[in-house]
């Protein structure tokens, strides 16, 4: 059993205990501060809102920062829960023992193009060349003779961080011609621009853009569920090794199949439970 799975099971066992640890409505509010990355933030915000409606006087704040900064906030004690997507960012050695990690769910970062683009799939290598600016015309990858417009997410976001780690990899750089925008503007532009390419979390996918297969795997609910569509994204939480009762209660709620996990599924994320 992996540590994360064990942590999740411990979390589930402790649900009633953690909920009991919450103060009654008449007492002082219970606060949980969450800091985290990318599409996780979108989904966890929905869970936080449901938690605040279900647990009177509870306060859950969620701020968006990249994975490394989220983990740092937990280590410094300035956040109760960090949301992150790359295990390699966990601190080495003794510092790692200060954190408890759980898997909340699984997401996939989906390559998107204009719906009229005849290309249905692309290889990871071709994708890398497009994002580096080496390939600049769709004809090279089997499409029409049309210039490629590369869209990238804002540098503060988990999506840009993920692309840097999983697609560009190593000492390679994003083409300076890339248009760097937020995810809403990216999808709005791709709807209009027949040469556009971008990438978004499956949870945030707009129905008027076309998702491409990667290395022969189509982006369907099934391939995202079974993890064969890549880059897949493990959505993890980190807390102090001994989290506060409020943070434990929130995590238990987030991992509850009837509560937080159901919300994750409606947000397009494969629940861990």
């Amino acid at each position: 059993m992996t540590p994360s799975r064990r942590t999740m099971l411990q979390g589930l066992v402790s649900v009633p205990l953690a909920m009991a640890a919450l103060p009654a409505a008449a007492q002082a509010p219970t606060a949980v501060q969450i800091v985290g990355t990318g599409a996780m933030v979108h989904a966890v915000r929905l869970i936080a809102e449901a938690f605040m409606r279900d647990v009177p006087q509870s306060i859950v704040t969620v701020a968006e920062r990249d994975s490394a900064r989220a983990l740092r906030a937990v280590l410094y004690g300035t956040a109760d829960i960090g949301l992150f997507t790359a295990r390699e960012l966990l601190p080495p050695g003794e510092a790692a023992k200060k954190l408890a990690v759980a898997t909340l769910g699984w997401d996939a970062e989906v390559v998107v193009v204009n719906r009229n683009n005849p290309v249905d799939g692309i290889s990871l290598d071709d994708l890398r060349r497009i994002y580096m600016g080496e390939t600049q015309n769709w004809q090279v990858v089997g499409g029409a003779d049309h210039a490629i417009t590369v869209y990238e997410n804002l540098p503060e976001t988990g999506a840009a961080e993920l692309w840097e780690n999983h697609v560009l990899k190593g000492p390679r750089f994003l083409t300076p011609k890339a248009r760097v925008v937020d995810v809403d503007r990216m999808q709005a532009a791709i709807i209009q621009d027949p040469g556009a390419i971008g990438h978004v979390s499956h949870a945030l996918l707009h129905r008027r853009v076309k998702a491409l297969g990667i290395d022969g795997v189509a982006p369907t609910a099934a391939t995202i569920l079974d993890g064969s569509y890549r880059p897949k994204v493990e959505m993890m939480t980190a807390t102090a090794a001994k989290p506060t009762p409020a943070a434990s209660a929130f995590l238990a709620y987030a991992l509850d199949p009837a509560k937080g996990q159901r919300i994750l599924a409606t947000a397009g994320i494969r629940p861990a439970q």
């Binding site: 915000r45 809102e49 969620v62 906030a73 503007r185």
Partner: protein
Amino acid sequence: MNRRRALAALAGLPLIAGWRWPFGNEQHRRSSLIVAGSGRMLGYNREIEVMFEKAHPDIDMVCEGGGSYPGLLALKRGLIDIAAISHELTRQEDDPRLHIHLVAKDAVAIIVNPKNPIQSLGRDDLRDILEGRQANWGMFGGGDAEIDLIDRRGGDPTDRAEAVDAVIGHHEPFKNVETYVGSDAEMIAAVADNPDALGYCGWEDLTPDVRPLMIGGVALSRETMLSGSYPFAWPYYYVTLGEPGPAASRFLAFARTDAVQSAFAKDGLLRVY
């Protein structure tokens, strides 16, 4: 704008640094604490200062404004103990040495007359209206009527007009303003009297005479402001360089107490503890 503020604040830094001198002679008995930064937070900081010095008479506290960015610069140069920051720190502003403590949140409501059929505007829609590119409700699904934009008179650094600028990334005077008003109460009265009006006010000042718009489909509520789903909400942070010193630690603990959080709530902020 930021550059101008930074220069002004930097000019004041020797003065701020000099404040340490009067306390230096009796350091064995007294300690000092300098908090500087966000103009929007200054009034709240001064309110806490009075409460804090009463509870901790051995600490002499000084509060100054100057702006979030100059405050951060002063902190990084060791000239102040705590920087007050009223926005999410970017990756460029952040630094592994910074400890970022959330102490409150605030939000602005974008308001229309209850007779207006529009329920929701996107952030880009709102930017287009405020910057004069769109001026008719018909463009957003409403009736064919001019949008009567109502703005607050400028000049007050704590004014929410500045907050609206900050959250939508707009730094020029609004275009096509129909009416200027001097307070949130006047803003609400003007919007309540005009079925074509568009204005804004503090979330806590809302009355049934006006209706807050959803932004990007997200309704303004306590839960969505705290979770961050509602986009026109912002954090108030106290930031330290490394582990806070003894006086700063006591101040940060004090800021989390029910007394301070209740005072924030009384002032119309969202408590986070």
